[in-house]
């Protein structure tokens, strides 16, 4: 009869641990918590404003919000960037300055550095335009389980680009934390960004 007693004791311990853990669970985020699901931030791209090659190290002490899009994007990209811009505007000036929005163009042919720099600048100084060759972009998007595709050009030469509509949010260490989606509300984005700024590192 010794063994069943031990097994019962072990089972009770496990159940107890699970329950305790459940109670200690932290308050939920407004955005989707994806910590641990994807690898840490890593890239080598060209910054549009000064055409310098930069890596993730250039944003080491910032909270990073990465978004894939293109400047000819009719609705999704400007909407997402505008919402991020609004969220940053709601935050403390000091906190907002701890955040960088990395807009990675997946349409490098049309998004020449000058055009891309001008585009991101219209959303605020904390927005950074990044571009790279298609192979680099493929590698980066694949790392975050995302992709993009170019549609057929119409008569005027315009073509659509399918891309991720998510914003990938990394903490100061470059670890993935949250995933922003189209229907997140602006207050929620601001609150989560504040929380990341405050909880992390300082």
């Amino acid at each position: 009869m010794k063994y069943p007693a031990r097994i019962a004791a072990a089972a009770l311990l496990v159940i107890g641990a699970v329950l305790l853990n459940g109670c200690a669970e932290e308050e939920p985020w407004n955005l989707r918590d994806v910590s641990g699901l994807m690898p840490e931030l890593e890239f080598e791209l060209t910054r549009a404003e000064d055409e310098q090659t930069v890596t993730e190290a250039a944003f080491d002490d910032k909270i990073k919000v990465m978004y894939f899009g293109f400047t000819s994007c009719p609705d999704e990209c400007p909407m997402t960037l505008a919402r991020l811009s609004q969220a940053l505007g709601q935050m403390d000036e000091e906190d907002a300055d701890q955040v960088r929005v990395l807009f990675v163009s997946v349409d490098p042919e049309r998004d020449q550095p000058e055009r891309l720099a001008k585009y991101v600048d219209s959303f605020g100084e904390r927005f950074v335009g990044l571009r790279g060759g298609i192979p680099d972009l493929r590698e980066l998007t694949k790392r975050y389980r995302s992709t993009f595709g170019h549609g057929k050009p119409d008569d005027s030469g315009f073509y659509d680009v399918s891309h991720s509509n998510a914003t990938y949010i990394f903490d100061r260490d470059g670890e993935i934390q949250l995933l922003g989606r189209e229907d997140d509300d602006i207050d929620g984005i601001a609150a989560d960004l504040e929380r990341l700024v405050e909880s992390d590192g300082w």
Partner: protein, 278 residues
């Protein structure tokens, strides 16, 4: 050529396909050497199943499956329904043992019959549990939240696809096992019931997805689609694939069961009847 290269390299897929193809080929050769006659149709079915599994996991199709809902549904149709069904039609219980030398074969048989393996196997193959597992896995991975995580995490994605293949092999083996009830298999009538039992929920789920007004799986918008396509169109095609061909597999399975049933009923009654007469 680019289309035949893997989008992501999965060692487990390469190992599974290489072992399945190599082991079966070796078994076939030794079987012929031993004077036995393996079935040509069975061999074709087995290798087709292996090639299909490899094809949907280790070519451009895997890329499309990650970034297009309906291609993903097609991938699972192959991984969970079609490929394992073809593989178990390949009579692996006759051919694969020959891949091992006689001594190892006996030892392997003893290991497989050991209670530690036998009990879990009997449990998952229980006629009440097996269909629940089969349908449950489909529902589980198609839960919007779980599907979301599986499509974001490459590790979860691999677990998802592996679970489909393993469960597919177990379930379809239960259905097309040529041994009738007297020889330790499941009764043929029960098998027909199981096929019906898995068909109904799949039809309901497929219809639910295919006829939904809104987008159920936003992870494909999050990840970006392989080419610009309306999310609802993508979802409707995906729902249809979950609905019609998946349900059709039950009908095809039933045809195989009826054939086995007929064959058994035309054979003279086995040992029990003979013993009674003597």
């Amino acid at each position: 050529m680019q289309l035949l290269l893997p989008y992501h390299f999965y060692p487990e897929v390469v190992a599974f396909c290489a072992l399945a193809a190599g082991g079966y080929a070796l078994g076939l050769r030794r079987m012929v050497q031993a004077g036995e006659r393996p079935g040509v149709g069975a061999a074709i079915a087995w290798f087709t199943g292996v090639v299909l599994t490899y094809g949907v996991m280790h070519t451009y199709l895997d890329y499309l499956s990650q970034y297009m809902f309906w291609v993903h549904r097609g991938q699972h149709l192959v991984l969970h329904h079609l490929a394992p069904f073809l593989m178990v039609l390949g009579a692996p219980h006759r051919v694969l043992p020959y891949a091992f030398p006689p001594a190892a074969r006996a030892r392997l048989g003893a290991v497989l019959r050991h209670p530690v393996l036998r009990w879990p196997y009997r449990t998952v193959q229980h006629p009440l549990i097996a269909p629940v597992l089969f349908v449950g896995l489909i529902f589980f991975w198609l839960d919007a939240e779980i599907h979301f995580d599986a499509m974001l995490s490459i590790d979860l994605y691999r677990v998802m696809n592996a679970s489909m293949v393993i469960d597919g092999l177990l379930f379809w083996w239960l259905i097309v096992d040529p041994r009738g009830r007297h020889a330790g298999g499941l009764g043929f009538g029960v098998r027909i019931l199981l096929l019906w039992a898995i068909m109904i929920p799949q039809i309901m789920l497929g219809a639910h997805i295919g006829l939904a007004d809104g987008v159920l799986y936003d992870v494909y918008a999050v990840c970006g689609r392989a080419w610009p396509i309306s999310p609802l169109t993508d979802q409707q095609i995906g729902g249809l694939i979950t609905w019609i061909p998946a349900a059709m597999m039950s009908v095809i399975g039933a045809l195989v069961v009826f054939r086995l049933w007929l064959r058994e009923s035309m054979q003279p009654e086995p040992a029990v009847a003979n013993g009674a007469k003597a």
